[in-house]
């Protein structure tokens, strides 16, 4: 019964957040703000479903299912990256007014020729080689 | 359900046909992709529709859907993937070699 309640709670919560995420996507006024809703709410929503599923299979069918953890982990790992990229895409499309300037530099998106990974990694001594891979012709 | 699937196949087919009748390579390629979706669902549906009876043998299963069309669709998906890849690159090649991505051969060829 407790488990049932818990499962029910997770399901309801998940449903609400899932809805909120997509509702925000429709309701919020501009592309940057619209990014917020799905990245958080939907991710949590699906997380709730997954936890409910784990509990359900553990309690109802008696086998511990850990698949769901994997999916959850994966979503939590990737959602910020997707959001980051879409934010960059939004910036690139139309530089917003009132964007602060980074000290002594420029945002990577507006900075031609930038390779932040290359530069960030350069300090640790492993820049991606920027030589054409012609030599490795098959 | 059958009506939904049939209408989906119909719409996808129609959209695919509409797109392959365009005059540039890219929409045509999209059209072929749509057509392969349509035909994959069509082929799949020839095994008739069944819910929650995947063709994975188990002691608890109450029945199984027809596995053969599924296998055929898998083969078809893979093949059409290969074909799509080729046609995409050929469209690109044609664009690079001729400077426009029209699909018609047009006048003044050598």
């Amino acid at each position: 019964m407790v488990w049932d309640l818990l499962i029910t709670g997770f399901l309801v919560l998940a449903g609400v957040f899932g809805f909120v995420g997509s509702f925000g996507l429709v309701k919020l006024p501009d592309p940057m703000t619209r990014l917020h809703a799905p990245t958080k709410a939907t991710t949590l929503g699906v997380g709730g479903v997954l936890i409910a599923s784990m509990l359900f299979f553990a309690t109802k069918q008696g086998h511990i299912s850990a698949h769901e953890l994997l999916i959850t982990l994966f979503l939590f790992l990737t959602a910020p990256v997707s959001a980051h990229f879409l934010a960059k895409a939004n910036l690139h499309g139309d530089r917003p007014e009132g964007l602060p300037q980074p000290e002594g530099s420029e945002w990577a998106t507006f900075s031609p020729g930038t390779d932040t990974a290359a530069e960030a990694l350069a300090e640790t001594g492993d820049a991606p080689p920027l030589t054409p891979p012609e030599g490795r012709d098959h | 359900m059958e009506a939904l699937v049939a209408s989906a196949v119909a719409v996808m087919t129609a959209v695919g046909v509409y797109l392959i009748l365009r005059r540039q390579t890219f929409p045509v390629v999209l059209g072929t992709a749509m057509l392969s979706y349509a035909v994959n669902v069509f082929l799949f549906a020839t095994g008739r529709l069944v819910v929650n009876m995947p063709p994975v043998l188990s002691d608890t299963a109450t029945g199984y859907t027809d596995p053969l069309p599924q296998a055929l669709v898998l083969t078809a998906i893979v093949i059409s993937f290969g074909m799509t890849a080729v046609v995409v690159l050929m469209a690109l090649g044609s664009f690079i070699a001729s400077g426009d991505d029209g699909i018609d051969l047009g006048e003044g060829r050598e």
């Binding site: 891979p133 | 699937v5 009748l21 390629v29 069509f42 093949i79 074909m83």
Partner: protein, 948 residues
């Protein structure tokens, strides 16, 4: 016994006689390096041998026997290599070979050193063989074959001086006209054969009455006559013949005296017993012959080119012969046969004479000639005798057969009128005499001139010997016609098919109507000569009338019409091709369905829950957005992504997890590929006019409705017979060792399909690689380097977050790949999906860190992966051979290593490994090849400082 065999062996087999010229055709080509003489000698040797071969049979033939030989060739068709030498065949064979020998001799001296003599003699021999084949064939299909061969070889001969436009045009015209007739004749012959039940001429002759009585007789007659008339240059198909005069003179002499044009006449004679004797025959053949005779003669009267004059005279004389054959009486047939010999002899001599004049004076225009009788006495003598024979002057052979013609005409009523034919025949003879006299007069008589293009003199004997021999025949037969009697009688007897009226060939038949007509003709001819000038003025317009011009206009129109039609249809419009396919499919499918109908639906529908409805809606909406929004190509790809997602989910819902996994993974790789390509392509499609879109929408809707209705009908009914997949469900575990039946079908029941499928994938990658390679070479490379992005590019090629995240994802994804691979046999998954998962993980590395970085870390060459994958799959399949089982027979077993749980090992896993490797190799090779393009394009860009 020995003696008999010996005697027989002296007589050459007819097939060998026919083959000899073809063998002879090879010699000139081989011998040409030894010079013209060797080539001519080689050809002459073959001709002489064949001639001797025919002569050897002659006694038998003159005795009224026919020599025959038969080799089955294509029995299913009734085509056999049957040859038969009877009188008619012998007459023609002797003409073909005899005059052929003379022509070879003449040609040896006629051709210039610069002419490719090897080719000439080869063509001539091919032609000779074809002609010989026609006359010796005893099977009409065989005859057709040789008939077409004469058209082809004469095409080569007429076009021999191919640098001359008129030679090319003449050759083409001759070919097309005679081929038209030949093709018509095929149909005619097939009808004959159909009625007779055999294609053997002897059998057809026997079935003559049945044929003439058949309802198809008029059609067959028309078709065959078309063949004969075109070949024999009968009006209105005569126009090709004068144009064929562009050929070297030996060719003209050969084709237009004894051979090519006589083929049609021969055919009429050959089929005379079968086809003649009906009003259709009489009017068609007689009329055409008559008109041709008059028309040819009239035009000849106005020509100034010697060869053209002779050509029209040939037309006229062929008309004469045809008319005689049309009469349908045996006497007329005999006259026709006799005139064939006579015309061949004097006309060949005249052509050669014309050639000599051309050769020695540099012109064939009689307006530029005249007065040659002293300068070229030999030529003068020979040509004059031949021309007088042509005019029908007594004591020469032309007179004899012309008399017989007039005699026959005198006894033949036409359209119920007894005067019409004799009158017109006399007119023909009159004009014939007229142009013959004109030829002699304008060329040789009159004053000598001082403006000949070349100083004229008689040629060496090499050139005059051949016409001399022919003129000897002209005179000999003219004086002693009885000498020709046996051959002519035998030939005529063979032609009319049996007994002949006792007609003796002699000079004096007493005072007959024919004699009077002859006299009128000669006198009239002389009168015409005196009225030269006046005549030329009056007839100039007439002479310019030319069916050939009509033909040329016709063929030009046909050609340009064909070109317009063909190019309008095949203008490279893709949409037309596809629309045709769609429309035909809808129409034909509708027809096939409607013509049989359908029974009631037998399966109940599955219930729908609302969430499924939402998925369906998403699918439909995204699909319908596609035609509306597709011009924004990126958006179109996003929409495709949605559709793919919904289809995958649909598969999951409808119990097809394997399909879902495959669909969704394939989809993302496809999107990546398309994005890679879209980088170069325009980002926006052109707008198309609304009517076109509306039309396409209608077509598309038709296709959609058709397919939708079809699948709906199929889903709502059961299989008409139990499906074979029941067996798969029953045997997947016991026989295939797996519980995922779909996978067992893929790697076992239908592993062969999968083998083909991975090969498709491998090939796709190779094609892509090869194409990318081409695009990376000049001239494409230049265009590639000149390319620059058409949209502003953000900075930051390799954002940190992505780089870090994907590096973590890679090993995890590999793990997932291994997992999906291993469980595939028993649960959704398998080598293909696993391969795609691994590929996607690798693709992420490319996207995050770049091509160079990723390739520098690549462990295996993708080519090798593909090769190894296909090989592993194939060799796994071949392994079964060692157990004596067929390709792809699988084995599986359960292994139990004590501390571990029991696990399964199956050869199908080896096969699936091959699938896995191929997929990874193929996907990666394709992506890497595409990426390399933009890499090359962008290095240049980088050098210019990254765009903006």
């Amino acid at each position: 016994m020995g003696a008999r065999n010996d005697r027989k062996s002296l007589r050459m087999n007819l097939a060998l006689i026919v083959i000899l010229p073809f063998l002879g055709a090879l010699l000139p080509g081989v011998l040409i390096r030894s010079g013209r003489s060797a080539a001519a000698l080689g050809a002459g040797l073959a001709t002489a041998l064949a001639f001797a071969g025919v002569l050897a049979h002659l006694p038998q033939v003159l005795a009224g026997e026919a020599v025959a030989t038969r080799i089955d060739w294509l029995p299913a068709l009734g085509l056999s290599a049957s040859f038969r030498l009877d009188g008619l065949a012998a007459l023609f064979a002797l003409l073909i070979l005899g005059i052929g020998l003379l022509i070879l001799l003449y040609a040896r001296f006629y051709l210039a050193r610069s002419d490719p003599a090897g080719r000439f003699f080869t063509y001539l021999m091919l032609f000779q063989g074809a002609m010989l084949g026609i006359v010796l064939s005893d099977n009409i299909l065989l005859l057709l074959i040789f008939w077409e061969l004469t058209s082809l070889s004469s095409f080569l001969l007429i076009g021999y001086w191919s640098h001359k436009p008129e030679a090319r045009a003449g050759a083409l015209m001759a070919l097309v006209v005679t081929a038209t007739g030949g093709l018509a004749m095929i149909a005619g012959m097939l009808i004959l054969g159909g009625i007779a039940g055999s294609y053997e001429i002897s059998a057809i002759v026997e079935a003559g009455a049945a044929i003439r009585g058949s309802s198809q007789y008029p059609l067959a007659l028309a078709l065959i006559l078309l063949g004969a008339f075109t070949k024999s240059a009968q009006f209105p198909f005569h126009f090709w013949l004068p144009r064929a005069m562009a050929a070297p003179t030996p060719v003209s002499a050969y084709l237009h005296s004894a051979t090519m044009v006589k083929a049609g006449v021969f055919l009429l004679a050959r089929l005379w017993p079968v086809l003649s004797g009906t009003p259709e025959w009489f009017y068609a053949v007689t009329t055409v012959g008559l008109v041709t005779m008059l028309w040819g003669a009239t035009v000849a009267l106005f020509r100034t080119d010697l060869k053209a004059l002779l050509a029209y005279s040939t037309v006229s004389h062929l008309g004469l012969i045809v008319m005689l054959l049309g009469f349908g009486t045996k006497a007329a047939a005999l006259a026709a046969v006799f005139h064939i010999i006579n015309h061949a002899s004097f006309k060949a001599a005249l052509f050669m004479g014309a050639g000599i004049i051309d050769h020695e004076t540099g012109t064939r225009d009689i307006d530029l000639l005249g007065g040659l009788r002293r300068l070229m006495p030999i030529t003068f003598g020979l040509a004059t005798l031949a021309a007088l024979s042509m005019a029908g002057v007594p004591l020469l052979n032309g007179f004899l057969s012309k008399e017989m013609m007039l005699e026959a005409a005198a006894h033949t009523p036409y359209l119920g009128n007894v005067w019409l034919l004799p009158g017109l025949a006399t007119l023909g003879a009159l004009i014939s005499a007229g142009y013959s006299f004109r030829l002699i007069s304008l060329t040789f008589l009159g004053p000598e001139r001082n403006d000949y293009p070349k100083p004229p003199h008689d040629p060496g004997p090499g050139l005059w010997l051949s016409p001399a021999v022919l003129v000897a025949v002209v005179v000999t037969v003219g004086l002693w016609p009885a000498l020709a009697q046996p051959l002519v009688s035998a030939a005529a007897a063979a032609a009319v098919g049996g007994d002949l009226p006792e007609v003796a060939l002699k000079i004096w038949h007493g005072v007959t109507p024919a004699l009077a007509m002859s006299g009128i003709a000669l006198a009239g001819g002389a009168l015409l000569l005196t009225q030269q000038r006046r005549l030329q003025r009056a007839g100039g317009a007439l002479a310019r009338l030319d069916a050939g011009a009509i033909y040329t206009a016709l063929i030009t129109t046909a050609e340009s019409g064909a070109r317009r039609l063909s190019e309008a249809l095949h203008d490279g419009a893709m949409a037309r091709a596809l629309a045709a396919l769609v429309l035909v499919a809808v129409a034909a499918g509708g027809w096939a369905f409607a013509s049989a109908g359908i029974g009631l639906q037998t399966r109940p529908m599955l219930a729908v829950n609302p969430v499924v409805g939402v998925g369906w809606l998403a699918l439909i909406v995204a699909s319908l957005c596609l035609p509306l929004f597709h011009r924004d190509r990126l958006l179109a790809l996003v929409l495709i992504g949605i559709i793919g997602l919904m289809v995958s989910v649909g598969f999951v819902y409808l119990s097809a997890p394997d399909l879902a996994l495959t669909q969704i993974t394939v989809e993302v790789v496809t999107v990546v590929l398309m994005l890679l390509a879209l980088n170069f392509l325009p980002k926006l499609s052109v707008a198309e006019p609304a009517p076109r879109r509306a039309r396409d929408a209608v077509i598309a809707a038709g296709a959609g409705l058709g397919i939708g209705a079809l699948i709906y009908a199929l889903m709502r009914r059961d299989f008409a017979a139990p499906t074979i997949s029941g067996y798969h469900l029953e045997n997947a575990y016991t026989g295939g060792g797996g519980t995922n039946v779909v996978n067992v079908i893929l790697v076992d029941f239908r592993g062969y399909d999968t083998f083909g499928e991975i090969i498709v994938l491998g090939i796709a990658a190779l094609v892509i690689y090869a194409l990318a390679d081409v695009l990376l070479r000049r001239p494409n490379l230049r265009r590639l380097m000149a390319w620059s992005p058409d949209q502003p590019r953000a900075g930051d090629a390799h954002p940190v977050m992505l780089v870090v995240a994907t590096r973590l994802v890679l090993p995890v994804a590999l793990m997932v790949g291994v997992y999906i691979f291993l469980r595939g046999h028993n649960a959704p998954g398998g080598g293909f999906v696993a391969g795609l998962v691994v590929s996607i993980a690798l693709v992420m590395q490319y996207m995050a860190s770049g091509l160079a970085w990723a390739e520098a870390r690549q462990r295996f060459e993708y080519h090798s992966l593909i090769g190894a994958g296909v090989l592993i799959a194939g060799l796994t399949g071949l392994g079964a051979w060692f157990a004596g089982r067929p390709f792809l027979t699988s084995v599986f077993g359960y292994v139990h290593l004590p501390p571990l749980e029991k696990f399964e090992l199956a050869s199908a896993m080896g096969f699936d490994l091959g699938v896995f490797l191929t997929v990874v190799g193929a996907v990666m090779l394709a992506l890497a090849s595409l990426s390399r393009l933009s890499w090359r394009a962008m290095t240049d860009e980088r050098r210019r400082g990254e765009g903006s």
